[in-house]
């Protein structure tokens, strides 16, 4: 019953070598999501932050993804070209282990919505350096055969009483008319 189809996946590609640490993405994101639009700037409200350690030459823009109640354990440390990065430097999960991607006033998680109304997310528009680029990828998607309402109901009855009992009941009821 399963077939294949196409779907559009929106992606922000990050070229870390091109980040100059300007944090314009943070400023633009916070401005776009302000009400009224662009009326206020505040990087700590941004859904993208540049995790930065200048003395280690580390600049990683990360985008807020999903909220989780618990932090992960067993965090790794990666060494790339002699520079040490914490795994958290690449992680967009909004978690309680760090003060990141929580609205500074309400404490609620801030999730990236890729600026849905815009042709490109604002962070990308504010990055002429080309560290952030927006791409729409077409991905093949396996479509699972979907069950209808009646099938779902019958399936649960089968699960509960067994197929034989259900068939007997169905036969008896139909004879009665």
């Amino acid at each position: 019953m399963a077939g294949t189809g196409k779907k559009i996946v929106k992606t922000i590609k990050v070229d870390l070598d091109k980040c100059n640490g300007c944090r314009g993405c943070e400023m633009a994101c916070s401005a776009y999501h302000a009400t009224p639009k662009y009326s206020s700037m505040n990087p700590s409200r941004s859904r993208i932050r540049v995790v930065m350690d200048p003395f280690n030459d580390e600049y990683v823009p990360i985008r807020a993804t999903d909220y989780t109640k618990a932090g992960c354990d067993g965090r790794r440390v990666y060494t790339i070209k002699g520079k040490e990065y914490s795994e958290c430097s690449f992680c967009g999960t909004i978690c309680p282990t760090r003060d990141l991607f929580f609205d500074p006033d309400s404490g609620l998680p801030l999730k990236c919505d890729l600026c849905e109304d815009e042709k490109e997310p604002l962070c990308v528009q504010a990055c002429p350096q080309g560290c952030l680029t927006y791409v729409e990828l077409e991905e093949e998607e396996i479509e699972e055969a979907k069950l209808g309402d009646m099938e779902i109901g019958l399936k649960s009855l089968v699960d509960k009483y067994g197929l034989k009992k259900l068939a007997d009941t169905f036969a008896r009821m139909s004879q009665k008319g």
Partner: protein, 656 residues
Amino acid sequence: MRYAETGYNLEIDLSTGNIERVETDPNLTKLFLGGQGVNARIIWDRVGPEVKPFDEGNLLIFGAGLLHGTPVVGCNRTSVNTINPMTGIFGHSTMGGYLGPEIKHAGYDRIIIRGKAPKLVYIWIKNDKVEIRDASHLKGKGVRETTRLIKEELNEPFAQVACIGPAGENKVLTASLEHNWNSAARGPGPIMGDKMIKAIAVRGTKDIFVAHPQELFELCLKMKKEIHASDGCGDWMATDEDDSFHHNNFSWGNSRTRIKNYWSKELQERWTRWKYDHMDRQMGCYNCPKGCINIISWPGHPRFGYKCYGKDTYHMSAFKELNYSYELLGYCQDYGLDSYSTPQTLALGIELYDAGILTDKDMPNFPTDSGDRIKYLIEKVVHREGIGDILANGSWHAARIIGNGAEEFEHNTVKKMEQLPIKLGKLNPAYYLMIATGEKMAITQIEGSFPQDPIRDVEERKKFVEHWDAVPSQIFKDIFMKWEKRDEMSIEDTCLVTDWNEAMHYVDDSTGLCGFVSSFRGQFGGKTAYSFNNVPQIIKLATGMEIDKDDLWEICRRNRTLIRAINNRLGIRRVDDDPPKDHWAVRNPELEEKLLDAYYDLRGFTKDGIPTKEELYKLGLDYVADELIQRGILDPDEGTPSQEAAKKEQQKSGGC
């Protein structure tokens, strides 16, 4: 509601531990904009001439620019003002990076620090929570480690830290305040050390509001793309590897020796390889798409970041090549030393040793190699050991302390501060005026909106003028069109050019804009991002304040005059408006006098270089005039040089 600004200052008294959040007067913004402008007003009000730089009463003010925290691109330079212990006058100090915008987001337009802590502390500001914290464990630590430790112990990776290294702690007068790869020289370093502040760390999570959101944001987004693509913005030295200009024309050692044909193709190739084989990236500052800061990891040595001419100063003081600077810069930045004044002072030490004025008694085991000598002296200066304790005061003071003829060797300072090591032939008027009367003590004083050299070819000149967007009025195009020889510009034109150059610098210093997208790049024509033609509109969109070109020009004049008055109160007079002794092979004392008189006329200064009562009243600085008169500095009846001359004429004819 205040737009662009927060409307609050943070006042910290280290002697009493008192911390206050103080509402500011919106009128000050109208009069002085922000940044250095408002800082100057506070220093005028609260730091009288009786206060010595190392007194408790001296202030250290971290001033965010008026447009910091708004979407305005390339606006990130923080003005850190104080009375500079090296010059004894108003310290002009600005640095790039992220500090100013962060201060704004913490809810303040500036941080004003007075007093002295009883022991080494650092200041931690997170929005309304402000702490003076013990820093005894950071004593003697370098900039890198200090920054890392503070972020770690606060558990605040997003905090912005500005700190001093051991040089600042030891009150070395050529010490700087460091913030990532940016530094604020000319005052704040030793003052931090004296006030016993190792660092300030700031994190802000508050909003900055603007008056006309949509318009401003769209304009800035467009400008960001243009600035990124434009050759007319940013530091061209970050991309142009031909640095023959500095190496062939500037003087090496203690600003003494020119090596005219130093630069060669082979050398350029070698140096280019050294740079790009070891460059991690090119960095920008807050909300700026340019990459002016070159980040280099030289094998076996600490990483460093340099801008512009900063890569040349150490090897030029030691007669070495670029790799010598690359070895040294990581350490010097970690010590927190100003790469501008320090190498010249060290080279003076070498010269005095070679001349026999300093001996092995002063410098035991002094190496023979010039590179080793500079390294030897750096260690002494940073820790103020032996001869280092004297050289730590900069070349002007050091030469006078050493005496015994050493004074003759100190020849490249203005108002007691080291200048670019330039040697020129004939005196060129515009340059003379700017360096002589300047009160910034920095390169940005002398380079500005107007080109330093004429274009010989008339067609080229026309083309230049046609595409010269930054020009505020036709007058400057006319001046440029008739300018043929560098040293031949009329006195009147020279004054107008100086006025424009200065005004644009004062725009930057009050709004927080960087000269590399503004004042400094105007001289190369074409497209610099900011000028008198668009800054008023940008200020209006951000703040809601009605302001036009003339208003902005008047604010700059007011700021410049107020800083002059602060310095007059501290003793600056005409005699101090003097360029380095041997900047020019051929001087022209008669012309120089005329130029100074004409400049004072233009500025509304008296013959002795003090703003007249009339001028001060016109600018709304009547309280300044009254105080200068009361202190006996200003004669209320004295006018500008030409007004005085006219009076004399009148008296003469009246006597007939």
